[in-house]
């Protein structure tokens, strides 16, 4: 597995990343001293139930949310130092991300390519490549509002890669997709791995994660409970599947809550 090789440089580094939210019931710690490293060509699964702090972590990675404490470092650049450079290096795929309904997929891709600073020629080349890779040619000029969910998802994946970023973040990438749609995402992630991207996938679908990821971080209440490859996790926990490991974490947490 590529992640095991120390010779490949680390791409994403999170150090003691913490984020608190102020609520009416006091401060809530969404992410708690999260530290992790991912490498090029590695697909890292950030797993956890809803509310575990996955999306908050991704938002801090993109500089959309400022960490209360800690630091994000992507390819040697800190988020707090050069936010725009970080954003240029990261592509974001989110299941909840919408598309501009009055634009066509082509216009959407052009808009984001220019937003990421690509020249006209670069944009044209990049879009041509993505159109053939993602199979967008059939609906390239249609208004996105008229596209099917699967077609929209493919446009979304292409949009995330329009600037060819070394880091790709996927937030619940298969949510709301059927089997065919999900397969498109799986193929997409496999391709990202092949082209040497550092990928973080956030999901609560553990079986899917097991198929997609090289390494896993099990997040609960903002804390990283276990981390490693599947083999390493099995050794650490003595359990065979991610589902069992999670149930154990949840069970322990529940027992702690009731004081057992």
């Amino acid at each position: 597995m590529s992640g095991d090789s120390p010779s490949v440089e680390s791409v994403i580094r999170l150090h003691e990343l913490t984020r608190k939210f102020r609520t009416e019931r006091g401060d809530v710690v969404a992410v708690d001293r999260l530290s992790l490293v991912t490498r090029a060509g590695e697909v890292y699964g950030l797993l956890g139930p809803n509310g575990a702090g996955k999306t908050t972590t991704l938002r801090m990675l993109l500089g959309l949310l400022a960490p209360t404490h800690g630091e994000v470092d992507i390819l040697g650049t800190r988020v707090s130092e050069d936010l725009q450079k970080i954003r240029q290096q990261v592509g974001l795929v989110s299941a909840s991300a919408g598309l501009y309904q009055w634009l066509s997929p082509l216009e959407t891709l052009r808009y984001f390519a220019t937003g990421y600073g690509l020249s006209k020629q670069q944009t044209a080349e990049r879009i041509e490549e993505l159109v053939s890779r993602m199979g967008l040619s059939g609906f390239l000029h249609r208004r996105t509002a008229t596209l099917s969910t699967g077609q929209k998802q493919r446009v979304n994946l292409a949009r995330a890669l329009v600037h060819d970023p070394p880091v790709v973040l996927l937030d619940e990438p298969t949510r709301g997709l059927d089997v065919v749609g999900s397969q498109v995402v799986f193929d997409f992630v496999a391709e990202l791995r092949q082209t040497g991207k550092a990928v973080i996938v956030c999901t609560h679908q553990l079986d899917e994660a097991q198929r997609l990821c090289d390494r896993f971080g099990l997040l609960h209440h903002g804390r990283l409970r276990y981390e490693g490859t599947m083999v390493e996790l099995q050794q650490q926990t003595g359990l065979s599947s991610l589902v069992e490991m999670f149930l154990q974490i949840l069970g322990r947490a529940a027992r702690q809550t009731v004081g057992v």
């Binding site: 590529s2 490949v8 440089e9 791409v11 939210f21 102020r22 609520t23 009416e24 090029a40 060509g41 938002r59 993109l62 500089g63 959309l64 949310l65 400022a66 390819l75 988020v79 707090s80 130092e81 050069d82 936010l83 725009q84 450079k85 970080i86 954003r87 240029q88 290096q89 990261v90 974001l92 989110s94 909840s96 991300a97 919408g98 598309l99 501009y100 309904q101 009055w102 634009l103 216009e107 052009r110 808009y111 984001f112 220019t114 937003g115 990421y116 600073g117 690509l118 020249s119 006209k120 670069q122 949009r159 600037h163 060819d164 970023p165 070394p166 082209t195 040497g196 991207k197």
Partner: protein, 731 residues
């Protein structure tokens, strides 16, 4: 290996920006325009609303006008006892009417339109025996009762004469009007008989008195409509911007496109600017459609002269209206974006906009009342100033100075709103949906920053401009008093405005004064250059003023000149040191603290150095246009140039202190020369017959100025301007 190569490839591809700033900004704006204009809801508001509204308003106006006219024709009820009396009275009234309307009894009735003649109705009982004429009048069934006893006498045209007894109701204006109406006509008939009798006797006769009548339309009728028109026009125009503003801000979050948009490596201010231009475009298109629909309606219903006076609705008037609309739309689009940027959904945005719309309508209704003029403090009240401006434009009574102040203040408010909107748009709170939003702007920040944000800069500017305007007015009020008192008031106002306000803001934001106002220490070697520039810049600034005055930029009238002369006389009686300190050094230091220390630093967080220096200089120039009791447009360009110089010096030296010294020296030099040289004193305030400074003076000052620049450039060579102080993440 392949993987590492691929990664390197990725790194190459995402290197620095390959597309120009403008091209990028154009794409951002294009996307917003597509999103807005392709939406049918926008186009419906844009085209259908005005096309429906104005004809309806026009018809309503017509209806009201016709209704009024109908009310003008009163109905007079005259009770008589017999049909014969009624017939006689009717004929005599008609004959009298004809006599009254024609020469020789009345001439010159041609001008103006006459109100409608009253309709006279005769009440005749079926049974005269049971009818009580007195009772009929007393009960108000008839306005007047008339009894006619025919006589042997003859009226002209063969009518029989009669004794007419009139029964008029006491203290009834209506009964009085009917009686007067009747009497006039009976008298006219009598008069005509008399004239004819005289003429028949062979004597010539002409009326000793001839009366001519002209009907005048009261002015306030037009004013009310003219007051309503700008309000309708402006309200309709901004309505066009409401939907796009919500759609492009709160809509981004509702449709889940906000996150990917915010993930772009572009500042929020740039994204918001694109949205602003889109909203402004739609608003202006709506305005244009409204003006077109209004013109078409006015033309079709032939109401040009009623609404716009003799000249009607001319092309130049439409152009002027569009200019006012542009200013108002700029302001309103910025305000709309500020409000909607903090909203997390359409619903929330709409709820926030309702109070905004109401607060716009309220002043609109107030200014509809005649008597309100665009002057004094009204010129700086947002919305009110533009509404008044629009009305005065239609009435053709608009003056340049209040209009300038109104436009300048409105544009400043707009920039402040826009920069605040950029601060709110796509923030943590909006993105994550946590409770906050507009209130965040008022919350004291927890994080300590080194430099105020651009939003704070513009907001302070928007607060200071009207305050400065009021302070200038206040100074005029104390002008009659002792000069020393005036000096003290002026000093207090200068310090509290230009130093007090920014310092308060910095304290509140927990920004250290030293970094927030750029009060850094500078090396001694820089000083000689600064002093030389300070001493030698004035002749050029002065020449610029003279030049501008010679091409027609003259603001002070004779009485204001007189005031200035008196002021000059007065200040020669006060110790020079006090004048120099109060009017030279103190304003220099305080204005620099704000314009170059506070504002310039804040602007540099969103702009490059050149743009920040230019914007702060233009603001500096605008502030100097506002003078106590009037405007000095000729000061705009020289003050802006001075602002550019001071801004450049500040950036070059990375401290505001040299600019303070330079400004202080410059002011003081001018004051000293004005105090000691009568001729120059006259020159300095702008008399018509100015002479230019001797060429030798200009040559000497140019040399000193050159040396000053060179010295400063060399002395600051090692400290080239960097983006220190501003952490990358805060840009």
């Amino acid at each position: 290996m392949k993987m590492a190569e691929s990664l390197r490839h990725s790194k190459r591809a995402i290197g620095s920006r390959q597309v120009s700033w403008w091209s990028q900004q154009r794409t951002f704006t294009w996307k917003e325009l597509c999103e807005t204009l392709r939406d049918r809801r926008t186009t419906v508001t844009l085209f259908v609303m005005p096309v429906l509204l104005y004809p309806l308003l026009g018809l309503m106006f017509r209806f009201i006008a016709v209704g009024n006219a109908a009310q003008l024709a009163p109905e007079y009820r005259i009770a008589v006892e017999t049909e014969q009396e009624a017939a006689w009275l009717s004929s005599v009234i008609q004959a009298g009417e004809q006599i009254l309307q024609s020469r020789p009894l009345r001439s010159g009735l041609s001008s103006g339109t006459t109100p409608l003649e009253p309709k006279v109705q005769f009440l005749v009982p079926n049974d005269a025996a049971e009818f009580d004429l007195e009772q009929s009048v007393a009960e108000g069934n008839a306005d007047l009762g008339v009894r006619v006893s025919f006589s042997e006498r003859q009226i002209s045209d063969g009518f029989p004469g009669a004794d007419v007894s009139v029964l008029q109701a006491e203290s009834s204006p209506q009964s009085n009007s009917v009686a007067t109406h009747l009497r006039e006509r009976l008298a006219a008939a009598n008069l005509l008989t008399a004239v004819n009798t005289i003429r028949q006797s062979g004597k010539s006769f002409s009326m000793p008195i001839e009366e001519a009548l002209q009907w005048i339309k009261p002015l306030n009728q037009t004013s009310a409509i003219l007051g309503l028109l700008p309000l309708v026009l402006l309200l309709m125009t901004v309505t066009g911007g409401v939907y796009p503003a919500i759609d492009l801000t709160a809509g981004e979050r509702e449709r889940d496109t906000l996150e990917t948009l915010m993930a772009l490596p572009v500042s929020r201010a740039r994204l918001l600017m694109a949205k602003f231009i889109a909203v402004l475009t739609v608003t202006m298109l709506t305005g244009l459609m409204n003006i077109l629909a209004m013109s078409a309606t006015v033309y079709a219903l032939q109401m040009e002269s009623t609404l716009f006076g003799e000249s009607g609705l001319s092309i130049s008037l439409i152009f002027k209206l569009l200019s006012v609309l542009l200013v108002f739309s700029t302001f309103y689009s910025a305000i709309l974006l500020l409000v909607t940027s903090s909203a997390r959904s359409f619903k929330e945005a709409q709820a926030l906009l309702i109070p905004l719309m109401l607060t716009t309508i309220a002043p609109g209704l107030v200014i509809m009342m005649p008597g309100w003029r665009l002057e004094g403090w009204l010129t700086i009240i947002p919305v009110v100033n533009i509404l008044l401006m629009a009305r005065e434009l239609l009435e053709e009574t608009l003056n340049t100075f209040p209009a300038t102040i109104a436009i300048a203040s409105t544009l400043l408010y707009a920039s402040a709103a826009l920069s605040l909107a950029a601060r709110l748009f796509g923030t943590d709170a909006v993105l994550t949906g946590s409770r906050s939003g507009l209130r965040d702007l008022l919350r004291r920040p927890r994080d300590v920053s080194e430099v105020p944000s651009t939003a704070v800069g513009f907001s302070t500017l928007a607060i200071l401009f009207p305050m400065h305007f009021l302070a200038s007015g206040f100074l005029t009020r104390v002008s009659g008093t002792d000069f020393s008192l005036r000096l003290i008031v002026s000093a207090v106002l200068t310090v509290s405005l230009f130093a007090g306000v920014p310092v308060l803001f910095l304290k509140w934001l927990r920004i250290p004064l030293k970094s927030g106002a750029r009060l850094s220490h500078i090396p001694v070697r820089i000083w000689p250059g600064i002093v030389l520039i300070g001493l030698s810049a004035w002749p050029w600034i002065y020449e610029m003023i003279i030049g501008l005055q010679s091409i027609g930029f003259q603001s002070l009238n004779a009485s204001q000149m007189q005031q200035v002369q008196e002021l000059l006389k007065a200040w020669r009686e006060v110790p020079v040191a006090l004048v120099v300190f109060g009017l030279g050094v103190l304003p220099g230091v305080c204005e620099e603290l704000f314009f170059r220390g506070f504002l310039l630093s804040s602007l540099r967080r969103e702009m490059n150095t050149a743009a920040a220096v230019i914007v702060s200089a233009v603001c500096f120039g605008l502030f100097h246009v506002v003078l106590a009791g009037g405007a000095a447009p000729e000061r705009l360009i020289p003050s802006t140039v001075m602002g550019l110089l001071l801004g450049s010096v500040t950036c070059r030296c990375r401290s505001v202190v040299p600019a303070m010294v330079l400004h202080g020296i410059h002011n003081s030099t001018l004051l000293l020369i004005a105090t000691f040289n009568q001729q120059l004193a006259n020159l300095a305030v702008g008399e018509q017959h100015q002479s230019h400074l001797p060429a030798s003076w200009l040559a000497i000052s140019a040399v000193i100025l050159g040396i000053g620049f060179a010295w400063t450039a060399v002395a600051t060579r090692t400290q080239t301007e960097s983006r220190m102080l501003i952490p990358e993440s805060q840009r």
